[in-house]
């Protein structure tokens, strides 16, 4: 019965990973760069939630959308200020495009971590849960209310995102820009605004993941490092740039990790995901699902 417990808890963590990784995959799909500050979007969400709830006495259910808004605003700002040179027609930039993106997002990650460290303080905060319940047994699975609600919200968000991308006009524009930026703009799609939208969405999702997990993880300024690394693994596993691949790979990684930590080695659980990442990049760079799964 331990196996079932591990499986369910792994799936739930997989859902949180998916919230992070989907945004990263969308950014990669459109700009072909890795956002090394993605973990800090998560961190900002967690802090917005905790500080709003604790210092301003905002009810948790209001703090949650506030955190999402903060993440979206951050993502949008980052795109406007720093990502424009990647596509806005600076001819000489194209050679060093990848390097520029790594340097800038890496720098941004350091900046946000240290700003929060300086302004808020280096100590971890414990966020208030959305509902007060202690652990209870759901059949053979140990569960607590916060985790269950967070998982529910994550499922709703991911499903909503999937419908948004598939059906809505904006979503279709995102797909078009990801497939062919020039072609999309020739067809009258505002590719620049679409890119801003993508950054806002991925900031929103990452920040929500942080806010939902804040009561479970006690955020500190560098709390985003591990979720970010996990989402790199996931994005690579799912085929870089594929949203559906990222969702699937996130659930897989969540389950695999929870089994690995118990049956193989707890100390090396973080190295395990990275080893997968290296192996996939070297032997199957198109990801496990491959080109077919790449729609965005």
């Amino acid at each position: 019965m331990l196996a079932l417990d591990l499986f369910v808890n792994g799936l739930i963590f997989g859902l949180f990973y998916a919230l992070m990784a989907v945004g990263l995959a969308m950014i990669f799909g459109v700009l072909k760069v890795v956002n090394f500050a993605h973990g800090e979007f998560y961190m900002v969400g967690a802090y917005t939630y905790v500080l709003c709830a604790m210092k301003l006495n905002v009810p948790p259910w209001v703090a949650l959308p506030l955190a999402a808004f903060a993440g979206a605003a951050l993502g949008w700002t980052v795109e406007r200020l720093l990502m424009r040179p990647l596509y806005a027609g600076y001819a000489s930039w194209s050679i060093m495009k990848d390097e520029y993106a790594v340097v800038v997002t890496f720098g941004l990650s350091l900046l946000l971590i240290n700003l929060v460290d300086k302004v808020v303080g280096p100590y971890p905060y414990r966020g208030p849960p959305l509902i007060e319940t202690s652990r209870f047994a759901l059949g053979p699975v140990m569960m607590n209310g916060q985790k269950l609600i967070a998982a529910g919200i994550s499922i709703a968000l991911l499903a909503g995102l999937a419908i948004f991308i598939k059906r809505s006009l904006w979503g279709r524009q995102i797909q078009a820009v990801a497939q062919n930026r020039l072609g999309a703009s020739l067809a009258g799609i505002d590719a620049t605004r679409t890119t801003s939208l993508i950054f806002a969405i991925s900031g929103l999702l990452a920040a929500l993941a942080g806010a939902l997990l804040a009561p479970l993880i006690n955020p500190s300024p560098d709390v985003g490092a591990f979720p970010a690394i996990k989402s790199y693994v996931i994005v690579v596993l799912g085929g870089m740039g594929s949203i559906w691949g990222a969702m699937l790979a996130a659930l897989m990684l969540g389950v695999l990790e929870s089994f690995f930590a118990v049956y193989v080695s707890y100390d090396y659980r973080d190295a395990f995901g990275l080893l997968i990442l290296m192996l996939v990049l070297i032997f199957r760079p198109q990801g496990l699902i491959g080109e077919k799964g790449r729609e965005v």
Binding site: V34, K97, E99, V102, V103, G107, M240, M278
Partner: protein
Amino acid sequence: MRDARNLWSRRLATDFRAALAIVAALAAVPLFVSSPYWLGILIVSIYFALLALGWNLLAGFTGQFSLAPAAFAMLGAYATALLDYHWKVALAIGIPAAIAGTALLGWILGRIVLRLKGPYLALTTLSFAEIARVVVGNSHEFTRGDQGLNVPALMQSRVGYYYLFLAVLLAVLCALHVLMRGRAGRFWLAIRDDETGAESRGIDVVRFKTLAFALSCAICGLAGSLYGTFSQLVSPELGLLLQTGLVISMVVIGGMGTLAGPIVGALLVYLSSEWLRGVGNIQLIVFSLVVIVFARFFRTGLWGLATGRR
């Protein structure tokens, strides 16, 4: 063709002279500064200058944007420390062993990531760096984990260490200059600017890319190994991603793809970070901001600003 060649030679010569002038100025510093604290700060800045030069060889000259320089410094430091801790190997053998070991690892890593570019390369080297750190930090019975390892000292005095580090910096600088002036350097630049083009003109891309990896990692390993004997304690913290971030920011601020730039950047960043630490621990905020601004608006770094090359 001839003109382009002369242009590059002239640029490299100015660059090298500037770097030599900085090293000469550094050599005179102990005449005026006797405080062991400030000498220590300068030694650490030279350690970072070595890492920056090593990383710049790979990222600035060959165009292979690795995120593992700090990991290789950690591995070099641990190679020396472990040889001493387990088998009582003398430093005279331990340091060369660290260089050889990191060169070999770098060569293997270079072979592995041969086909990867841009973000794929960055992610793979990042994973390598983090795996190395997690493994070193968790192998408690072999490396004592986060407690770190003690390393015997190599020199008696701070001044001795200072000149040792400076001599190594000079040696690395000269070696890089010779390489960059020769065939290898031009091949590296060709690979950076257009890999397919370089290959079609008959450059052995595989050989020269792996060579760049091996050399760059060996420089980082050497720097780490020396740093271990200076601080007499090595810990997995040497390999933190933050350290890699510092190295990158030094090179970006100083000027990528130059010899003087990384040295200037390392000295500037580390010395002013000591000062900013006093002001209120804001050094990392300032530097990450400066790096973003430089990457966004002054891509050639300070060296580019100074020589008018934008």
